[in-house]
Symmetry: none
Subunit: 215 residues, 4 copies
């Protein structure tokens, strides 16, 4: 992960993230260690050593160790869920950018797959720690409800009306769609790394579509 990618990841709301050389090294070391050993099992001295800075330097930039974690995870939560949706989503959909639910599923799957591929360690940290930190859970819920869920629902209702999707509750379709996408991603990145990506992506899309298509 280079500086640019990192700053892009941690950037929220177009506010630029300015990080000094040292700060950047700290964050990258933290990501690596948190991902490998977990937040609670990583010591700030390890991070400092790996980052090549003094221990004190970490606390100059982040008031506490937890602040460092949150500074990494919170923007990631926002960016995991939000970007595609939050910004251009409604427009895209109502502009009929997606001609079918299948196109839409293909787009999210490909997009989220690429995101995880690029930022795997950060995503891993966030899935681990979200269980133990209420701030994360709250932010996640807010983002998900406000930006993802609502828009997702609208899209589904739209294609249900168009007769492409079965008459299932939107919640169920959302759950099964996301579940299948996340399942693919987890299988690929945590379990069988030698999977034929493109074929499995396509199979997953067909599986989802067969599962929810009106018949």
């Amino acid at each position: 992960m280079d500086r640019e990618a990192l700053e892009q990841l941690l950037q929220v709301n177009d506010q630029e993230v300015k990080m000094s050389e040292k700060q950047q090294k700290i964050v990258m070391a933290a990501i690596e260690m948190f991902s490998e050993k977990g937040f609670a099992s990583t010591s700030t001295s390890e991070i400092a050593k790996k980052a090549g800075v003094a221990e004190g330097t970490i606390f100059r930039h982040y008031k506490t160790k937890k602040d460092l974690l949150l500074s990494i995870v919170m923007p990631t939560i926002i960016n995991t869920a939000a970007p595609k949706f939050a910004k251009s989503f409604a427009k895209e959909v109502f502009d009929h950018q997606y001609e079918s639910y299948e196109d839409f599923v293909r787009e999210i799957l490909s997009n989220r797959f690429a995101f995880v591929k690029k930022y795997f360690p950060v995503v891993k940290i966030y899935f681990q720690e979200v269980f133990y930190h209420e701030e994360m859970r709250n932010l996640f819920k807010t983002i998900f409800n406000d930006h993802v869920y609502e828009k997702f629902k609208q899209i589904i209702e739209y294609f249900k009306e168009k007769g492409e999707l079965a008459d299932l509750p939107a919640e169920s379709i959302i759950r099964m769609t996301i579940t299948s996408i996340v399942g693919l991603i987890i299988t690929r990145f945590l379990i069988s790394e030698d999977m034929d990506e493109e074929q499995e992506k396509e199979r997953t899309i067909q599986f989802i579509m067969n599962g929810v298509r009106k018949r």
Copy 2:
């Protein structure tokens, strides 16, 4: 979780698990705390306090804190995957106990759903910690490969031959089936606890079947 349930959970290979009153309290306190705060963030003194025993007592029963964790998680890993499969699986299937893949899916879903419902905290610990402890990953892989994967594959091949299932690789069908089941369980127990269980179970089964059925 009462004593009987606990001993049943930690029991492997019909070897009886005998636990003194105190030991049982320790394990139950540990499960509660590990589940709530994570292994690394739970101190042995907290466990002792919650269990109502002296700190030293923990170490009389478990050489290290990690031993305590493993004594909880390892049998759970075995019991999560193995029992239904390891013992009666082959027989059941080739005795045509399952008349269709749908019956089979219904059975696992209902069975695993009930298991998680009963032992949620332990299952949570195990999903959290499996990322950081190689012993767990190794055991999981072994159990999964030896007991689950092979049998699962045989069942799928059987129903593929019978013309019920689409001509997809068994690996893909397994992945999509498990993914959908686990996705339902996670949604139910971690996200929306007020879901209409029975309806969503049935929808998930239909989703899976539509996804993999020969057409």
Copy 3:
């Protein structure tokens, strides 16, 4: 070390030492461990394990761990210094049992050498621990002053009068004699175990005698 040797070692003033099987095993395990690792670094549980008894059993026989140490070392201190001297010494000497200082030196050297050879681990413990336990030091001083020093002095004065020994203070002759004997024993048992014992004993006797003989 067998039971008899052990009871003989720990016996003082002809009071018989009765030890049960278990007690005996405890003492022997304690001697072995204290000698190997030192008193403070040996735990009662190690002793119990090596002795093949329960931890509680140790404390049934000895109120504290230190009591166990003292029960081993205190009789040894008495027996190291005292027996030859305390009982028959004066008589022997004034009965002219020793015809020369050389005979006397030869006798102590041979006697103490054999004692250490037989009870080396116990002697090692006592030399180690005497520095840290006042009771030991006090007993040692008492025994040494009352039983050894006085008699030793009488013998030296006797042979000085007979013209065999140089006109040095008895203290100095005692110091140099003991020093040379102890030096030989330490060299033999702690440093060069392959020494030619008999030859070095004789050389040491000659060295002492040349050093203190009247000339």
Copy 4:
């Protein structure tokens, strides 16, 4: 012991030992406590309290408690045996700096006596702990064999050829010489502190010389 003396003691091979105020206090407290109560019976919290530092500070300077011990004892072992010998010894002898074995004995006795007088607590620690720590024993053996024993032997052979010393094996003469010197030192510093030092030194030299002189 002041800072300078301490740094001099711990210095090896002219590498300067730089110690902060706190570190110095830690080492001096450790020396005092180890000497008084023994290594195993001294707790790091006691050392910290006596040194007037936080307990953590000890572990910033020394990775483990044992490291602290070794950092004190190992240089002392080197300096106890080596300096006089290792550097100027051979030269001195073959330059006939010592005109007689007696001069040589007088020199070591006075030199080592002064060393122990100055650094008694450290020497005590080292004699106690050498029995339980293999590193110490190995270093001691190496130093003794390489630097002391060989040179000592050469000197003895030289004076044997000159006809001053009896025809005894060098090993025996070395043993008896060292034994007598160490015996004097132990008597003086551990047993009778009110001894007339100078007179007893001279008596010991005469005792040694009479014992080993050719006759």
